[in-house]
Symmetry: none
Subunit: 207 residues, 4 copies
Amino acid sequence: MARRLTARGQRRRQELLEVAARLFATQGYHPTSVADVVEGLGVGKGVFYWYFSSKEELFRQILADAQRDLRRAQRQAIADEPDPVRRIEGGIRAAISWLDANRHLFVLLEFARTEERFAGLIRQGEDQAVADALPHVKAGMDAGLIRREDPLVVAHAILGVTDHLARALVLDHGRPADDVADAAVAICLGGILDAATARRRLGVGGG
Amino acid sequence: MARRLTARGQRRRQELLEVAARLFATQGYHPTSVADVVEGLGVGKGVFYWYFSSKEELFRQILADAQRDLRRAQRQAIADEPDPVRRIEGGIRAAISWLDANRHLFVLLEFARTEERFAGLIRQGEDQAVADALPHVKAGMDAGLIRREDPLVVAHAILGVTDHLARALVLDHGRPADDVADAAVAICLGGILDAATARRRLGVGGG
Amino acid sequence: MARRLTARGQRRRQELLEVAARLFATQGYHPTSVADVVEGLGVGKGVFYWYFSSKEELFRQILADAQRDLRRAQRQAIADEPDPVRRIEGGIRAAISWLDANRHLFVLLEFARTEERFAGLIRQGEDQAVADALPHVKAGMDAGLIRREDPLVVAHAILGVTDHLARALVLDHGRPADDVADAAVAICLGGILDAATARRRLGVGGG
Amino acid sequence: MARRLTARGQRRRQELLEVAARLFATQGYHPTSVADVVEGLGVGKGVFYWYFSSKEELFRQILADAQRDLRRAQRQAIADEPDPVRRIEGGIRAAISWLDANRHLFVLLEFARTEERFAGLIRQGEDQAVADALPHVKAGMDAGLIRREDPLVVAHAILGVTDHLARALVLDHGRPADDVADAAVAICLGGILDAATARRRLGVGGG
DNA sequence: AATGAATGAGCATTCATTCAT
DNA sequence: TATGAATGAATGCTCATTCAT
């Protein structure tokens, strides 16, 4: 591809991406045919292959766009925050908010992970997300705000809690995104133990 | 179906389930054809339909078996543990250990969530897992061991950390399951904040 | 085949013929599988191939039995009737009555005519039926009771009216077989014209 | 379906209908595969499903077209005939002539009656044919030309004689359509009895 | 840029028949 | 005699992709 597109062409391409993302999310990638996609736009099949060389390429594009978009939202949310823990918090909130607003993309990212030819893309994106969080985690540790543990593990744990709560509570059980974000932040930061218990059980030195 | 099977038949059926799970995990559910499955066993295509009424039914069976199996492993792991926090810990460790030993099933459970006709099964299983954890969380709160928050959210958070760390660190990055289990337990229980910070930031009353 | 069968075997064979005829009539010959047939009897598939060498052979047998049975019913009905017109009448009535009592076989005979490999059997049976009627028609003509026309055509016409009225009125529209038989006889024998008209139009010499 | 077709598309669709009808008639509906049909045209399999949503839909179309066509032929044949008996005669002749010219469709109509999912279509068509004939029969009775009997039965009897003679004599025994039409008319109108006998036996009042 | 038409390999599923026990 | 299991060719149908216009 890498076709030079007119403004109208750009719009068409975008429409295809959106309709396809919507359909892939609703029916699944495989069960959605290229015919479904172009039908959803009321255009002929040639249109599809004018803008994308294959169904797979289209899907990759959707995935890449989604990842770029989420990352951008997180960056913007924490741009001017000096406190590392607040930056982490901001990242969590931005993620949940974005996932709430782009529910249909969430399931696509999940699906992509399950098929080897797309999984690489997702693993890359996840590594990127972890790499994005890492400096804040380390800064928090250096500032004595965050308990010293493997920062990579910590970053992954944050990702895990955030994603899971967003999906399970916001998407599946319909809870308000803000409330879930509060809970995600609380649990990520403070764990679930009572402070005294934590001190005893985990040997956490009290301040 | 609900066919009466001889011992030999039972074995065949099991073989089909295993080969199919393996292939679905490797290539994806859709890209794997029934022909692939029977070829993997070196039998005729009719065999498949003697034991399963459809590819979909077979997949559901794989999912149900996997969920049952994981749950059983967790139950056994914590059977005689009186301490609720230790029960939670045991559940986390059992889950990571099972996922480590059944990597191929993990991706199937994830895929299933992305296609509406299977998603129900997965949501049910997840609700079950949460329901299983809930009593321990509540008991922990009642015993003053766990900070009082919405127990459902807490249970979901534990699930999220556990699943994510298992996948990202054990499966994707090849870390030893035991180490990851340690980390998962530590983070679930203690969060990531330094205790003093936690006290200040979250208003957690000190012991 | 031509297997020597025990009394029990004879019964089994008959059961298979009946269940199959029933199913073929309801669902059609092709849409009915051998599996359906044996399932309908609650026996294994081997049973079928013990008694019949193929699905096709079974169907031929059903057809042959039906034709033999109908013919026998007609013969008995007119055995001692000296008047040729009354013999024709008796044949018509016997046919309609048999078709009424064996509705499911009717559709099988019709179907068989539409597939070349069975059509011969049916044509033979029909030729036989015509041959059976022919002597009575001729006798009627010789006795001056029946208008002189090609007896073969006359015989076929009787067959056509009888079969059609039986199917259309008795089977499809649920009219009583006896009433339909009356009508069939009246029309076969007297046509539909008013006598005076007939005389004028057909040049039929009045008695 | 309900696809908008270009002129070329219309032609293809018609070709498919014709080839399929031919094959269905020769080999039977079930024994003819979609592959046979497209092979007969030398096109790919997709072509079939571009024009028809299923083999069943195609067959229904063939049946509907055939019924429409026969009906049209009959209507045209009797359009300007004032005499009701002559209208009936014209209908009989038109039917036999059409069946002679469209032999292959005849067997399809017969087959369709034997499978429940198509039988409705045929019964409808037959009811229509009877309804078409009914006014002429009634007019004939009112004009004193036709003996008073249940007009529905009379109409069905005409249908029965016509169809049967056409099939048995024209198609199966190769008699000239015109001769058979003469015979069908004679028998339908005048029955088979000698006029005097008819008077005596049926109590038909003489002119 | 866009369309309707076509391609044909591939898929899930069926089923008459056979076979080991 | 009978059964459960197995066979594998065949079927109706789908769909990513291509092509002529």
